[in-house]
Amino acid sequence: MAIQKKSNIHILDGNQAAAIAAKLSRVQVIAAYPITPQTPLTEQLSQYVEAGELQAEYVAVESEHSAMAVCTSASLVGARTFTATSSHGLAYMHEMLHWAAGARLPIVLACVNRAIGAPWNVLNDQQDSISQRDTGWIQIYCRNNQEIMDTVIQAYRIAEIVHVPVMVCYDGYILSHTEMPVDIPDQKDVDRYLPPYKPHTVLDPANPKNYNLVTLANPRVGVDGKLCHGYMELRYLLQEALQNSRETILQAGKEFNEVFGRDYANMFWEDREDAEIIIVAMGSLAMEAIVAADMLREEGIRVGVLGLRVFRPFPKSDVVRALRKSKLIVVFDKNISYGSEGATCSEIKSALYGTYINASIRNFIVGLGGRDVKARELVDATRKAIASLKETVINPDYPEWICQI
């Protein structure tokens, strides 16, 4: 049940929202390397630490790979850790992203989504975080700066329950550098929502133990005589943790609403019962899509919008329920799996397999490298998708690109 709280609204950009959220979450170790468009976020955090407003260790590292290595080590000794990066920085972290997830450390990373070169580009798309899809991290995407604030706080709650790191993704510039009203939660409320981090295992010099031996394929007996997991069992447990995290994510959203009066699920679904055409988008584009859906409605075309929030674990059953009446699904992706299609389109198709839903699916690649995506372009693409049904209902092999080729 939503409660009325006194609001504390400030006009903030996305990076400021993320920095304040990390501070409110009482992070203890921050390790980050500046990269556009994430830079103001790390600058803000280092200022908080320098000014004594945040009791944390700020580790200025020489690379993103080291940033995640520091976060991994700090998390292992029991600290709540935070980092942030974009684009090439996230790519450079790749190895350590696997490590953090494999070691089951509840690190939170803000990914300020930016295109990856070549060609060189500093603007927004979601290729960077999508390229880290299979590292074992939970990924949550934000549509606006309030969601950035709230999601970073929720991310710690989720990560520390399921022991899986969480990547909070938000669009570079479009959110990171755009100011809008954001309600800043009260520290007392955040403390109530987010108790101090209690690690399941702490490396402690006073109580030396041997961890992380080469783990063999098969289980084997440890020095204490107990049968220990092999590599595959440990990796199964990571998969199981992600599979089961749906409940924790929903619960974290529900409890957030109880404390802060803002409700979150694992996707944004506007239940427009009459809509047989559904637009799917992730991140800030899911806001623009609502404007596009309203424009189409004015023309008498009934359209609903599914905004994807949690991309990993992909909320299959919830997506299927939202799409149950759909006849046409138009998926806009700010990323592409080259030689295939947009990543969220693949997820939607996979979720629908074996269900009774037999909707046509059209995928459009949009907004790469900061190409502006206007509501009217989403409208045109949706109209085009509707017209294409007259030719064939079969789903094309490859997506269409909204660009000038």
């Binding site: 006009i11 927004n124 479009i174 550098h177 009203p181 944004f268 506007e270 404007v291 309203d294 509501a375």
Partner: protein, 196 residues
Amino acid sequence: MAQKSSLNNRPLEIRWHGRGGQGAITAAKIIAQAAYVKGYQGVTAAPSFGAERRGAPVSASTRISHEPVLVVSQVENPDIVVVLDHTLLKYPDVTQGLGKNGWLVVNSPLPPKELGIKGEFNIATADATKVCQDLGLIVAGLVIVNTAILGAVIKATRIVDLPTLEKVMRERFSNSTVDINLAAINKTHEITKLAK
């Protein structure tokens, strides 16, 4: 959190043109904040995205609405265009998309009719540069006109009033600099010439 857009309540859109270092982005943010203080629930302020360099043409945008702003794409059809440096008027993209009954607000010593700009929009001009020079609002050799021009913007468009703007300025600026900026706003507001 269900979000609904409202076409009947399309946000008011302002596009700011200046040169890197003039403070167009700060101006975009100040107006957004003032509009919020004035009771508009939806405001956004954004720089033009990408690399910016001192002296090079830059732009920024502000959206103002009674409901949360859902549009995240760049402004295409501004209701108001603000030009901090009149030499930018030679670029056609400065007034591009500015609609009928819109406002073009220019920092220029010339009265609106002598600007030589044709369009169906209204024009306001004020010599904000001279106001700031007279007041000594100069930082590192650069005349800082971004706050002064706000006086012209609100005189022409009445988005917010002077007391609201002053309140926001006092929140954003330190005590040592706020008074000179407020003086620049008030003086520019006073001398702004309007041509409807």
